[in-house]
Homo-oligomer: 598 residues x 2
């Protein structure tokens, strides 16, 4: 039977020791997030994830969602009840301003507990997850009336939200989209077209569904400059604000997918549905990107979540499964064989996942804290610096953590041998679920292009230069420390590879942009290695400080951090050199073949 325990101790260590959240208690909402409060909230979230969400994970996979002939959709058994617990616990609005019913606690805390929820049940968490994204877009771009009309219900979760971008012929290239919006006399629009791959598009868990829909207003310019964003509620709001008449939007089909069966991924048909413009005409992509950026962090988090859950199950199996003997002599001499966790190759896999999961958790929370600073600080310089880093990290976090999330779910499955391939142990589901995170909210190749083509050069490279300096300074400051010098030495090597590759792009990609495209995925992973390596160096510093201060019962925990960090540096950081070599190979060979020659 699959197992899951939320890694609360690790979360708290990162928040308190590594990120020193207490130092940010001047930010609005942070004063309420004392160490005690963090522990209480994380503990509460852990309980909800473990006890309510996790037991439904396999059911959701096996049962899936059902579309009935009348177009209604039912979710797997138990999902509604679990969602109601989540909703009623106030988790959706944890970091939302109080005026819309939220608690305005730190977004970094919201992110921390979000990991547990997605580990426990990714498909179920997508319903409130999409709602979250829609809330973010309305918060930034909605009119006061729109905020008042929609946000409180969405924050309390009685209404959910969706994002409608993709059409059958266009996903990445939204400039091609065809869904039409025809202005009406009353200021509303009639929306017509078909959207596909709409997560949580239709279901029976909420009283209303607030679709955010990209469409083209009649006569708008071609391409991405003619796209607007609309609110299209499933039920139009009656005069009292309650759901009234059924709008002309319906679920035409549920997609047959490799995984995330518990989430209703719908074909949505808009047949002259009534929609309301949100934000300015033809600026829909800007508004969508607010949602998208929030969603990308959420998807990166899913990668981490699934890797962590799959890892925990692989560890449990590796401790129990008796097979073969340790190469260095029997470790379980009374038994007929040793548990497979004694085998180095099994540990190689477990340590790899562990090092990425713990480093990735720090990376995620560090980035989420940047979001808090960017949105809440009253110091403009701090705000801008945080926003720079956030914007730079978003594609890396999404692309790297989801690639790794899948890779590590596969590694964890491998530890089960044939038992991982049958559905009973749940490892297949982790692999199948994790796979989508590499694709949606911008396939990872698009994240890499966003990084190299847009984020890198923004404001003359201000963000990337600042980060290189921050990491370089850290290495400089700690290089004479006996324990930390091991970390800074490896980190510095990785940073050098990253800086050299960045320089290579500057020298070779401006005149030949294909050189940027050819190296983009390698660059994204190179950057991910360096940033997660930086996190490990900071974790090591915090662990060492904790040990020096007298760790008490945390001593083993902190010592293990140093071991896992060393593993990351020795085994995983050396990949930066390979990534650099690939980048420097350039585009020439890969562009040489004619399309017919493949």
């Amino acid at each position: 039977m699959p197992t899951y325990k939320a890694p609360v101790a690790d979360t708290l260590f990162i928040l308190n020791d590594v990120l020193a959240l207490a130092r940010h208690n001047n930010l609005p909402g942070f004063a309420d997030a004392s160490a005690d409060m963090l522990e209480a909230i994380a503990g509460e979230a852990a309980r909800l994830a473990e006890e309510a969400l996790f037991p439904l994970n396999r059911v959701g996979d096996q049962e899936g969602c059902t579309r009935h002939d009348d177009g209604t959709v039912t979710v797997p058994k138990g999902f509604k009840e679990a969602y109601d617990l989540y909703r009623a616990g106030g988790w959706i609005g944890l970091a939302v301003p109080e005026e819309f019913g939220g608690q305005r606690l730190p977004y970094v805390l919201h992110t921390a507990v979000g990991e547990y929820m997605s580990s426990a049940n990714m498909s179920l968490m997508m319903y409130p997850g999409l709602t979250q994204g829609a809330i973010a877009a309305i918060l930034v771009h909605g009119s006061d009336e729109q905020k008042a009309a929609y946000l409180p219900k969405m924050v309390e979760g009685t209404w959910t939200g969706t994002m409608n971008l993709t059409e059958p012929h266009c996903g990445t290239d939204l400039g091609l989209l065809r869904t039409r919006a025809v202005p009406q006399a009353d200021g509303s629009y009639k929306i017509s077209g078909q959207k596909i791959f709409i997560s949580a598009g239709e279901h029976d868990m909420s009283e209303n569904i607030v679709h955010l829909v990209l469409a083209r207003i009649e006569g708008a310019p071609e391409g991405t400059k003619g796209i607007s964003l609309f609110i299209v509620p499933k039920f139009l709001l009656a005069d009292d604000g309650a759901p009234g008449a059924r709008n002309a939007v319906s679920c035409g089909a549920i997609e047959h997918k490799m995984g995330i069966h518990g989430n209703a991924t719908c074909v949505m048909n808009y047949d002259g549905a009534t929609g309301f413009l949100i934000g300015p005409e033809n600026k829909g992509l800007n508004a969508m990107f607010v949602m998208m950026n929030e969603a990308r962090l959420g998807v990166g988090l899913q990668g981490l979540s699934i890797a962590e859950a799959a890892y925990q199950n692989a560890v449990a199996y590796a401790r129990e499964r008796l097979q073969g003997r340790s190469l260095s002599g029997a470790k379980n001499p009374e038994g007929k064989a040793d548990p497979i966790i004694v085998h180095p190759d099994v540990r190689r896999a477990l340590m790899t996942i562990k090092a990425w999961a713990e480093g990735g958790r720090a990376f995620t929370l560090w980035t989420a804290l940047k979001s808090d600073i960017a949105h809440r600080s009253d110091d403009e310089t701090a705000r801008q610096a945080a926003d720079d880093t956030l914007s730079l990290m978003t594609p890396i976090l999404k692309g790297v953590l989801t690639d790794k999330g899948f890779e590590h779910a596969v590694m964890a499955q491998q530890i089960f041998g044939g038992h991982g391939y049958i559905e009973e142990h749940g490892m297949s589901q982790y692999v199948r679920d994790a796979r989508i995170a590499m694709i949606y909210e911008g396939a990872n190749g698009i994240q890499a292009l966003d990084l190299v083509g847009r984020k890198l050069g923004l404001n003359g490279g201000r963000a990337v230069m600042a980060l290189f300096k921050e990491i370089g300074d850290f290495c400089e400051e700690n290089r004479d420390d006996e324990t930390l010098s091991f970390f800074t030495r490896h980190l510095k090597k990785g940073l050098n590879d990253l800086q050299a590759s960045t320089m290579w792009f500057m020298q070779n990609a401006l005149a030949k942009p294909d050189n940027a495209g050819a190296g983009s995925t390698d660059y994204m992973h190179l950057f991910g290695l360096v940033v997660v390596g930086y996190m490990w160096a900071r974790i090591a510093k915090a662990a060492q400080a904790g040990l020096a201060a007298g760790a008490g019962e945390r001593e083993d925990f902190l010592r293990n951090k140093l071991v896992t960090g060393r593993f990351f540096m020795e085994r995983l950081m050396p990949e930066t050199a390979l990534r650099k070599a690939r980048i420097e190979a350039g585009a020439e060979t890969m562009m040489e073949l004619a399309a017919e020659a493949f």
Copy 2:
């Protein structure tokens, strides 16, 4: 709709130009394999794969196999008819001696066409594939009576075969197995126990099923030294040799698997079934390894097969899907967007799969040819040298090509974006099917251990030294050639990394075997890179020779080989340095944590 065309031209190029099969026409059976004959047979196989097997691939996935209450199992619709075509075409016995109904053509040809069949329908091909392995074991270890009784029917395919190793509590560690064999007065045995994960264990496609079963004779020594191999036919043979009384072996359940749904993976219950010892008592593992080695090459081939099939579909999609514009200016200016094959990051993925598939095909056929030489040559030195290489390459071929097969199916799926995640395009099936090949016939971690712990040191390292010399000599001989020096330079670097890592094991793993285990998977992949790199260097040499001789209509084909080979060298070979760095990191850090600390 999924698509598949057998890569006949590439097969023939490798057989004729790279491996120069004609030079081996002194081997029995090779004289019949003229270039014309090869082309005719490959063409015939391609037709069968494309027209009969491939159209059933999705059906098999969707429909799966059904176990009925009486324990009988039916395969997906159409499978029996397609299997009958395969069977009747004589494909099972292609390389089997004539006295048992085979054609004794080269095993390398059998391997070449086997690729097409598994690309077209991996699940269906497993039925004759397992039969193949059972034939190999009976050929080597069976008595004359057993050969006469079973082989002709198995070669004609009217009876199929299985391998029964795994039990619920043991897979890798067969020493733990519990299935019992009790000697009977008539020389037969009563077999009792449960086997799991038995591919093709029960089905309705053949008149009889010949189970090869590992069991422990009463009173036999513990561990692997007490295991014997038995033939347990589903129907006992009557006096006239035809299937007679039903034996006490039955399918208890069909496993619910992530993929290969078209193959019946069964729990098999032996309830005092009548079995016949094959080979000597307590030497069952030796006999099983004959089967296993053959099967491992077959599984490596599956990795190649699925990667090739997934690649072809990704290429077709990348040529048709219009999305975005080329970074270097519109390539399809009349259209609303360019086909995505113009994007470097899409090409990165396609070129990676292509370079591994073509290099992997050469690797597979080169290894299969070693098998022919090892089994058919009358020159003992040549036989031994070929057997050395075959034995060394078996774990590498299995481990590397199946890891890559899965990785590349995932890459190909990624090119489809969201359309790859839904089942309609068939990309999910390739990923789900490819996954098993990393697990069965010895999980890839076991292949790596077999390589490092057994194959490397065999006969004082004779096999590995000979191969290093062969590759080193090739580099030396061709390093002054203008075209080839590029290839030999990269190959030499890879070889140096491989030699240094081999040396590192010799110096560090004898006293501390965990150092071997810790680096084993990296070493297997390092070796795979160098061998496939060697293949590419030989392909380049053959292509260059072909071009120099006046290539005619093959000119583009040969030029493209040089481009793809350059890609392999520039982008993929540099990974050898990373693998070496990981190996040299040793076992210390990864063995440090207590099992409870994970």
